[in-house]
Point group: C2
Amino acid sequence: MAKQTPGGYNGRILRANLSDNSISVEATDELFCRKYLGGAGFVTYFLWKELRQGIDPLGSDNKLIFALGPLTGGSLPGGGRNCVGAKSPLTGGIAKSEVGGFWGAELKRAGYDAIIVEGKAEKPVYLWIHDGEASIRDASHLWGRKTKETQQAIRAELGDNRIRVAVIGPAGENLVRYACIMNGLYDAAGRGGLGAVAGSKNLKAIGVRGHQAPQVAEPGCVKELREWLLANMRLVRDFHEFGTGEAMGGFESTGNLPVRNFRDGLFPGVKVIDAQAVKDTIRVGMEACFGCPIRCKKVVQVEEPYPVDPAYGGPEYETLAALGSNCGIDNLKAIAKGNELCGAYSLDTISTGGVIAFAMECFERGLLSTRDTNGIELRFGNDEAMLEVIELIAKREGIGDLLGEGTARAAQRIGKGAQEFTMQVKGLEAGMHEPRAKPGLGLGYMVNPHGADHCCNIHDTMYVKGWPLKELRPFGLLEPVPLDDIGPRKVALFRLIQLKQIVFDCLVLCSFFPYSYQQVADVVAAVTGWDTGVMEQLRVAERVLTMARLFNIREGFTAADDTLPLRFFQPKTDGALADKPLNPTELERAKSYYYTLMGWDARTGIPTPEKLEELDIT
Amino acid sequence: MAKQTPGGYNGRILRANLSDNSISVEATDELFCRKYLGGAGFVTYFLWKELRQGIDPLGSDNKLIFALGPLTGGSLPGGGRNCVGAKSPLTGGIAKSEVGGFWGAELKRAGYDAIIVEGKAEKPVYLWIHDGEASIRDASHLWGRKTKETQQAIRAELGDNRIRVAVIGPAGENLVRYACIMNGLYDAAGRGGLGAVAGSKNLKAIGVRGHQAPQVAEPGCVKELREWLLANMRLVRDFHEFGTGEAMGGFESTGNLPVRNFRDGLFPGVKVIDAQAVKDTIRVGMEACFGCPIRCKKVVQVEEPYPVDPAYGGPEYETLAALGSNCGIDNLKAIAKGNELCGAYSLDTISTGGVIAFAMECFERGLLSTRDTNGIELRFGNDEAMLEVIELIAKREGIGDLLGEGTARAAQRIGKGAQEFTMQVKGLEAGMHEPRAKPGLGLGYMVNPHGADHCCNIHDTMYVKGWPLKELRPFGLLEPVPLDDIGPRKVALFRLIQLKQIVFDCLVLCSFFPYSYQQVADVVAAVTGWDTGVMEQLRVAERVLTMARLFNIREGFTAADDTLPLRFFQPKTDGALADKPLNPTELERAKSYYYTLMGWDARTGIPTPEKLEELDIT
């Protein structure tokens, strides 16, 4: 391999084998960096190349991969994130999740672009990486502790309060299939059960500390884009002022807010759980990820009826909806408490809310009874029950053991048609966005390799008016695509947005930033020194997405897995979508056209040999 | 339609109906300009929209369309060209041809972006357009005259020596199916028989004169790119010094030079007919198109054995090969004379050379005899015969009447297996480039809507090393595609190059300029004021190419017409390609993948309804 390291990269990957307690460092070459960029690209590459078909996601053969991009830890706002990936214990397919905070930027300064964790430690361990050095350390004394205590203990024992920690709580240790990995206490690599993979390896945490960022080719361009952002903060004003969730009222009135397991539309309580309500009642501050002027992270504090520790930040929109409206709960303090518990135990709030909403519906329909629920009246709107069940899930006790398996597996065990009420794709509980309101997003839920993921997706509403539309003009998309269109123009638009999102995920750039395709390509060129452009960036995304698809196909996924829960093809019980189910034929047609645009077989969704050769995937 | 006219456009199209002697002016709107750009885009749009299926290309229902782009007549070198199109009397499909000189720039100053000529005049006419005014004038006195005399007469009778004239000679009047339209005396809209369409309408010429170029949004960017070019003239040094044809020796040694109807490889005489030989023997000057610093136009003069008038310039590479090596002729003076005759009569030199080479092979094989040829010994290498036959073709006399129908029709009339020796696709005689040496170009010959066109095509050799490769890096094509590769990577590369060429053809930019995709997109944005980019430009090209395909499908073309002459699947008799035939299975596979990449059915090549909707083609 060529030794030249492009700007923005350390050119080094750390490999830690927990089975034999060994650590090694591998150099990356420039062509590899350019073909996969970093983040989701690196994660997907190594999972595709290094995992064998059919391995147990919770066994020692799985690998847990952390990766940065060339912009990570630099001075461009939105670049403090990292990607984490593994074979998912929830879906059995590929899992990858991007996460904010400070950990990614710190790892960059510690001298690595990625970490590959292999094998399984005999006893609990944590990784400690500082300024190029790495060691595997005993974590027996940390096992069973919540994330906050763990972070405190690691900082204390290493004597540095600025160590950044990626960490799991008891939910990860107990192999809850949707346990997350926390970067510090606010930020989760949430989706797909990566915390369970860490737990299965007896990996409690990775602490990082570093002081040396790699050189970039032309720092001027990064500075310029940062200044552009600061001059255009109006574009992100809502995020700045409220964080996510300010628009929940509008979501409810348009039917986009999930209510009671995506069944209902109306939810008057929305006004007491939205971000405005958070601000007016329990918010005590706003925090930021590394180098971010948006500062979208709510910090909340509650004293009674139960304390909510502000150390765990506050609920994002996804959490407000998942533990709130989707469980029929309009008690904001309870939602905040649930958020704190998920952070402390390392539970994905979306899947947690999704599985509880599912259980509530099963309970109300008589598919579960108090005999199954440890006596809990697990009904929509029961906030106490929600909090109790989160505790049980994290500990895998009673009903929590069943629900810790995730919605799809729980439904199989419950039987009696419970499957009908699982709002998941490929096993991943749906994000808090409604395909009946956003059909393009529905297509994304269907085809995303990770399942019903709202991040790597289009939000159709954004492309009816406003600045995101303007950004499409340089692509020749000169006219808005109607909100409820799911024809070829929407499919092509979805694909473009999805590919852009994957570019962001490879760079591990935050999606909340209104950087255009061109701005991103220019800044990548400037940082790396490559003569790259928008088309190359999209081609990288195409390569990465196709590789993720190959991963799933290797694991037995077919086009039949690219589907939506039945409920989305039925109208909501009330509200704006009470007469607007999705049309399954239209969605299938859209899926087929999407396959075609991707160079995958229109019927099977299998990438053609020609496309693989063209993309240089071997 | 919105009235706003983007920078670089006049916003006006002239429609002249020769049947009823009427002239009208139509406004274009901005969306139309942006979706089709101009040049080949406008031509294709109007042919698709306005022609009925099955019309006689030489009847009054055909339309002859001239179109400019937003850069035409501006200060960017390479922007003096225009596109001409019609239903082709040679292929029965769409014909479009780009042509240099000064006519296009002058039409822009005369106030129009395009001219649509309809109907058929009772008696010969010419169009006279000056500073927004247009009239149809009698041309009875010009009929039968050569192009030079016609141009002189029009300038004289209108009293302005700076009038630019697009004109046909007797070959156009006599409906030779590959008659061209000359812009002045050096430059031909050569391919597809557009001169015959003019002749069929009794249209002898279009004279233009104007003084007012439209505004451009940001002139600075054009100036900058012009300065970049002037600072990088080394990239076009060969064109500047020799015009085309300097590399003919190299072509011969690699097998890329067509020799004796593409049959043979070796041609030692190449060294006395190449551009170096032209320079050393008969060249008396170099001329330029509008605003062009390259000045690639040879001017030659010969006194004996026959005079060659320098007014007609000199032979380009295509002519040197078509009338030279491909006819087995190594007499440079004869080639220069042939070039002059083609200019004077308005004959496409490529098709003329192609049909003569075909006839020579038929003669040598006994499929034609002196009884058919007016006694001419029509053998390879017989330069006198070549010149005699050109005269006969232009006048449609004797053997010239048969050969004036083009190779494919002539072969049908000759019968006896003559078809095997027709080096044409869809009826268009192949450019002077060898698919056995450049398989990507072979694919282009197959699938180009216009037939075996070398312009809208890849030249595989350019993408093995050198600056064109560098230009592909921003697209993520980081490694050269081997010369003889015809797999998916070459197909994707071909498509990208083809689409770029169509962008150039819509802008009617000269292909000899080493402007990158990005530079062109930037200058279009600057001139028009649009927030456009590379992706939109390529999307326009995709739209235009798909529309051209629809035109051909409407006329009955199928995937079976996307094929190559049998000879290309056989080795050459000698030289570097004596053991290198193309593989028909590989080419068919490449064709199918090309269809797929275009969003056309992989088997039939018919654009899918989804692709049409996505591209907004109705």
